[in-house]
Symmetry: C2
Amino acid sequence: MADQRQTGFVGAGGPSAPTVFFLSDSTGITAETLGNTLLTQFPGQPLERRTIPFITTVEQALEVVGVIDQLAATGPRPIVFSTAVGQDIRAVLARSRGHFFDLFGSHIGQLEQALHTSASGQPGQAHGVGDAVRYQSRMAAVEYAIEHDDGQSLRALERAELILIAPSRCGKTPTSMYLALQHGILAANFPLVEEDFANLSLPEPLLPFRGKCFGLTSLPVRLSQIRQERRPGSVYASLAQCTYELRNAEDMYRTNHVPYVNSASMSVEEISATVLQRMQLHH
Amino acid sequence: MADQRQTGFVGAGGPSAPTVFFLSDSTGITAETLGNTLLTQFPGQPLERRTIPFITTVEQALEVVGVIDQLAATGPRPIVFSTAVGQDIRAVLARSRGHFFDLFGSHIGQLEQALHTSASGQPGQAHGVGDAVRYQSRMAAVEYAIEHDDGQSLRALERAELILIAPSRCGKTPTSMYLALQHGILAANFPLVEEDFANLSLPEPLLPFRGKCFGLTSLPVRLSQIRQERRPGSVYASLAQCTYELRNAEDMYRTNHVPYVNSASMSVEEISATVLQRMQLHH
């Protein structure tokens, strides 16, 4: 294991780019999230990234420091993002020869003042099961999203908190999955197909649920490109067909006052944040 | 909209608990992630939480400050976590009467020194499409996970980077989905059923792929509880059946040198971090 780790460290970054470490006493998700967000401010740096989660003892912390120090001795000083909570572990990690970013310690004192109480000092529970009810609702939402993917099941649409509607390949499925997994939203999705465009009204199964519908659209060129990857040379993927479907879908959204967004250049995270905001869905 | 927002602010927290804001010029995901991680250090505080994403103009920032100041005038000072990047927007947000946590500004100077270069100052791209190749691989992985959920399709198992195996309801599906969506891992999952326990060898379709397999197990009591919710009073949900399946699954994992973890008290995030670490899967 140690050998594999070491091998992993020489790599993409080359000898002159520092290795970035995300260290945690828990999953490492928070360290990765903020660390990577900060690093997006420095585009073009080919940095090798390593997450080391579940550092829960001083011995493990010392081992990690050994790895960092070895890299520092032979190349640029590594960059170390840490969300470790325990004082003793943080103290050990802070002594490495890397540039140390204590993402936890930087803010906890100010937060103690704001809340007039002391931090618990317990290792990170942010991505544990935590609130069991909330956790179970997320897991149930993932099941629901799979069952109701792509209009597969019209049963229980009344349970949906959100119904994403769009022509094929505009991003309904991954967005439903993201909203379910991260926010516990019961998100169904429903594909708009050619026969739905015979008139401007919503497809019949959606009529009772207009207020839960959110539409996605895209750019014809972009949609055609995505569909070509799936079915090259098909009518389905043609620019004409994509243009036709998107124009009709947008007309349908507007006529029925269904809020919608053009997802052509958006990530699932951006689409999801937009949907949550526009639909006032609590999470 | 303004009215709905205001209504939302009086609530769960009651008059004496401060409202927590997550402010961002992008999705707000990073602010929520670190902010919530810090707040887990103060359990039992019933705090109302509001995410306001996509604050991209000074006018929008001023509007948000107005909302915060109004709350501060009539109750406890709100807590404000911000990842806004632009200097002008940060300056406006910092002037609110809330407790201001500049999650971005706190670290960017030190990072500029470490990397010997200036931050770009561009609004957050961390959760945008970013690297298009990486983004497409995540989206393809979500599709793959849905297609290969619960042993539905044994085609293309050779494409899998990971095959999660376990008795029903140990967490295979949400874990596959999480690994796909967050890390772009091609994760299939395969249910172990009674007939698979006739002997200790892996089910036939998995034999060529032993090295990609990772097992999940649970505690009989916990598994029985989860299955009872789905099929109350069934043999499937009985403690005897759960005990039998879990014991046999664990024997199978050990005999075939398949790494495994007991997921009974773990979240999908914790299971995923463990799988990534143990299987040395790069992301």
